[in-house]
Subunit: 395 residues, 2 copies
Amino acid sequence: MVSEYMHELGSKKSTIRDIFEYGRKRVAEVGRENVFDFSIGNPNVPCPAKVNETIKKIVSGNFGENIIHGYTPAAGLPRLRVKISEYIEAKFGFKTGAENIFVTSGAAHGLVATIKALAEKGDEFIAFAPFFPEYRCFVEAAGAKFNVVPAKIEDFQIDFDKLEESVTPNLKGVIINSPNNPTGTVYSEDTLKKLTEFLCDKQKKYGHPIYIIADEPYRDIAFDDVDIKYIPKIYDNTIVIYSYSKSLSVPGERIGYIAVSERADKHREIFDAIAGATRISGHVNPPSLFQYVILECMDEKSDISIYKKNRDLLYNALSESGFTCVKPQGAFYLFPQSPESDSRKFCDRAKELDILLVPGDDFGCEGHFRLSYCMETSMIERAIPVFEKLAKQYE
Amino acid sequence: MVSEYMHELGSKKSTIRDIFEYGRKRVAEVGRENVFDFSIGNPNVPCPAKVNETIKKIVSGNFGENIIHGYTPAAGLPRLRVKISEYIEAKFGFKTGAENIFVTSGAAHGLVATIKALAEKGDEFIAFAPFFPEYRCFVEAAGAKFNVVPAKIEDFQIDFDKLEESVTPNLKGVIINSPNNPTGTVYSEDTLKKLTEFLCDKQKKYGHPIYIIADEPYRDIAFDDVDIKYIPKIYDNTIVIYSYSKSLSVPGERIGYIAVSERADKHREIFDAIAGATRISGHVNPPSLFQYVILECMDEKSDISIYKKNRDLLYNALSESGFTCVKPQGAFYLFPQSPESDSRKFCDRAKELDILLVPGDDFGCEGHFRLSYCMETSMIERAIPVFEKLAKQYE
């Protein structure tokens, strides 16, 4: 009587949401200071002061024509698109005309539109484990096949032998996410060089373009001066998805953009198809007030020093307690190995100590667990002795 | 190389957008005071002062945890859903629990999610001409068949003989839109009584539920104390789609809700399927700041007296010039008959006088044209002699 597929998508409880709800319950029972909820990636660093100042300035203005809350073009305000285009050129030294920028309601929206725009019947899209679980739904909902390349757990770079085994002539797109959720890994220059060479070879072999979809919501959450390459400079068939959610700490406001590389095969057709895909997603325009905010605050960044401090604290403490973990260079996640192979069981044991973690299975990578560390440092400090206690159970 | 369907959806120029762009060009050429653009429905009445005051208050608060711009649950803040539920009960005397309210990014988003949630292979959805053109894309993109019941041009109520001819046992949903875009018509009590009886009969005959999707973005733009029935009170299988775009004059901010009637067959399954459908549309949550705004401003309404004044002015002037037009009781549109049967040709002639109109064909109803009157009254006053001139060409 209802769409079975939509019902399944909507009623299957997400592990992260379940943990989140359990956390709220436990807070009520034992107090906030005794629950160590590492399950959600809701940035805790406040937005730059300029964001709220800009909002106040905008809504205090004299806008008789009701411009600030009015409809905008579907792809965003023309001058916002121009400004994003100029920003990209200034920051990365790569020209992307405003006509190739589509302002979206966040990165998820950009990903869905891009995948739908590219996907034809029989196409395949690849992601590298561990990956953001929604990728699978986004690809499958577009009628395409989702292929996972197993993780290279030593460093979470790419295992090229496994990639070779995974590709078929139907490969249409490769989703990369660097810095990565859930590992925090940034792809090295070497990884990207090999990946782009690999894809160029396959394009030649299969006689059709293979697109990189560079999902970059964490681009501006990076530490240790790590160099995050701008993919369109090294691979022509690239579509970049960006979000201001993390850089400005405004994830609930839903604003980001798609930048289709001018060097990409059929880039105008892709752009138009993205417009078509957003139309049937119920998109009318990205939230208007925040388009005006981004116009003024594009250069602003939230203070990420807290994330770095949290990363160091948590990474060092977990390592000292005996956990094996790749040190992340970006985002705000750690993805350590579980001390028992069934990471769900491990997370259940952690839960008994009120440490809330997400099992790696959800990200297509068993035997690991994810911690978000976008939270108050004091909570991490309080959690460290509890992690030590947990580790002792496995000695 | 790209999805042909998405490309077609995205590259086919919309007539309204074409006219809009032409209007901008003409404004540059002959001056704003000489162009009479009746093509777009962008509310010109400012939002209630409380909206911007609330925004200022919210962003001036001390929100150390960055709550106001943070993620919310996908279906909206729990207390916003409760408040909407209470508002519906107080206003319409109809109970709809908060668990049946899904806060959306506007009405289009709500429609897409609802149609996708309901549509199974082979299903049909009906709309009554003239209708909002995106309905067709929304239904077809969900893989269902879109059937149009021809217009009853005397009064734009429902032609039940034509409805009878249109329905098949595959009928899953009926989209109604009262007050209507593009006619401004409000369905009478008699029309709704006949429609609900008709659908009850068909449900019995076909042995399955037929849902009314009540698309109500214009509910609060109504004149002459017209009584707009709350459909769930008269028909159990109803899903209401609402938007704050028009009532608060904030169409660019994208916020509204879906209310699934508790009396509807499989209402919990429908709600879950709606959640699933939003997930693959790239929805994460409705814009967060505006969720807090709606919490405070739900009772507010924009001053619609300007729309009423404009309606009276334009309706009277057009009638006196010899145009035949059903007097609308809501929304901010007029849908007069074209003095020549090819309304595109008529709109082209109007365009020569810098009057910009939308041909009725776009709304599934030939021989008519649409005017939006959500604009400064002075522009309408300036346009009246030009309409007289235009009418004279047909004498």
